[in-house]
Subunit: 421 residues, 2 copies
Amino acid sequence: MDRLSDAGSTGAGAMRFGANYVPSKGWFYSWLDFDPEAVRRDLADIASLGLDHVRIFPVWPWIQPNRGLIRRDAVDDVLAVIDLARAAGLGVAVDVIQGHLSSFDFLPSWVLTWHQSSVFTDRRVRAGLAEYVSELAGAVGTRDNCFAITLGNEVNNLYPTNDVDPAAASAWAAELLDVVRAAAPHLTALHSVYDDAWYAADHPFGAADAVTLGDLTTVHSWVFNGATAIAGGLAPAATSHADYLVSLAAAFGPPDRPVWLQEIGAPLPDVGADVGLFVHRSLATVSPNPALWGITWWASHDIDRALVDFPDREYDLGLFTVDHRPKPAGKALQEFLRSVPGRAPDGRRTGLVCPVDPVLDPLARAAVAPGSPFHLGWVRLRESGPVSIVAPGKARDAEHLASRGISELAVLGTELADFPC
Amino acid sequence: MDRLSDAGSTGAGAMRFGANYVPSKGWFYSWLDFDPEAVRRDLADIASLGLDHVRIFPVWPWIQPNRGLIRRDAVDDVLAVIDLARAAGLGVAVDVIQGHLSSFDFLPSWVLTWHQSSVFTDRRVRAGLAEYVSELAGAVGTRDNCFAITLGNEVNNLYPTNDVDPAAASAWAAELLDVVRAAAPHLTALHSVYDDAWYAADHPFGAADAVTLGDLTTVHSWVFNGATAIAGGLAPAATSHADYLVSLAAAFGPPDRPVWLQEIGAPLPDVGADVGLFVHRSLATVSPNPALWGITWWASHDIDRALVDFPDREYDLGLFTVDHRPKPAGKALQEFLRSVPGRAPDGRRTGLVCPVDPVLDPLARAAVAPGSPFHLGWVRLRESGPVSIVAPGKARDAEHLASRGISELAVLGTELADFPC
């Protein structure tokens, strides 16, 4: 199994395709009733589509119910999943701090109520988290099919329940990434945030963290963030959203830093009935992006409707039903994988100059959000072919543009007057 | 094993003595790593002292991690503990909603953060709790050594995190007690609150609930509530506090309603080094109380110092160490049990008229709190012999007084002018 560091080069390298593993039986509650046979069956489903990896989600408070207690049996269950994935021919990326999963926050009693403390800023809690991250990272690092460790799934969803400011949010992630690197130096260490980091002016987690912390940039494309509200679930604004987010990440990160589309899914209430078409269009649009390292679909399996209180859009995200039948998304993904062209040599691309820099100027982030004039302009231009995004400070940097294969620069008319060209 | 309903008559009935079962290995986190042999060993410790029952504490969110999922294996673990207790000759009282344990609140993700809801007032959460209580009560009700079900340990500690007003607090408990009775009609159904219900004017959980809801009244005597601050851990104000609380409960409840001293413990930082003396004095003072059904010591075992973040006073409450050595409290309790006299026929008792009625007038509750003139007066009088408390409205009710064996009425001088005699 290739390590991410081996396979992570962009350009001609093979793209990685995987699934975010949502257990069919008992969702993530199944960690409490670990059933290797059920996991084996789920992983066989995933491998049958031709996918090469899974992203998995241990649940923090069940592994570390007391700050001083990391349950060895629970860690062993995580290792057992990794070993079962290996047997199925799958690599594994592990998210450590869950933390947030599909609207539910899992937090231990030692940070709640009488012990209320921000997981981001409280020194005692951060020390406990560091021990947890170190122990789990060290353990999964012993498995050669484990290629990456992400701090936690969209940890910024733990805000505002856990207060934090931008400096503290960065420091928290940087500190824990150092813990990961110390415990598992050979693994790719990653940070993961949902897209308020890119789009919400007042959000304490910044786009700067996304493109500088960790060994590559991860993005999560969820079209219920406003993208489907523009013109429906199958319109370009929706089906190009993943490519847009990868393009933003590529524009504002260091040169050649790969971008992992770590989550993309097709929420039925937002996308509409023709999920297969959404899958095909989204994958076809994003996959030529030269910055893209790989794509990990959310999710492998549906959520059993016997489990209640999830937002409606979370139930039907699976590539498979809970009884292992492939769904339209799964079939569309499989079909795409069979036909996906190898990485073409970088073609010449149009670059669209962004009027703001969401990394340098977080307060301007709404100017790149779905529905913003810039986003709508990019979507229009994207209908005619690949469109890179160019940071405003790089628009006159010929070397930068050439290195990204950008042969032609566009500026949206409405922003033209403001642009320092 | 006698049911509480058989053994619950006061007067000449044998008093029940038990322990609140705190597992020696892994505290209540041990539910996540259930180890029957460790439980068997702990229960053997408890039985060796001559105790007749344990009170046990399943952890709600690990049994019902989703509102729609009650884990059968977790329920079976609770039943296994009850069966192991039977083998050790012990009866079992089960507290259902934990909920609160030694400063930690255990709450499922479906009532927290993005799903934030008051467990007391949210209709959806109450429906989920009703299912949980019904299923667990029904299950434990199949065991003939299980004699009582308490809604949860000091559920009023879940306030103020979970908002509630007095009417809603009462309705919540009454509703769930009906659920218990429907699921396990042959068991004693109980409500449990910590003593703010008696002492804090603004507390939404009322003394009225304590003395009317459930099949008997439970009280929890914790001398760090101000009792040891008066004159130290071995002074009468501390060592008579359990008797005081039982006396309050007897005074303001229906006639002949038994009172279970469901928790009493000797917190070292408050009581001081001579725990054995505290145990002896407390038990000797409270045990002649005619209202008393039984005494359940907190706790069976210490908390391992490897488990962190507990308040310091929680670690050393055990009758045994975590490696099964009897501690001074255990030895003192055992010694007391060997020498405890049988219930004497009710002697003639002095009754002290309370200046306020904390049941009818919750805002006046501070007037009976530890350190209040009434409490201090009662403590002084109690040094000369047993002192019942008489509700202000019953001071002229000769039949009431006679039925309680009260031959002599006292009124504190400072309150005399206000008392309607």
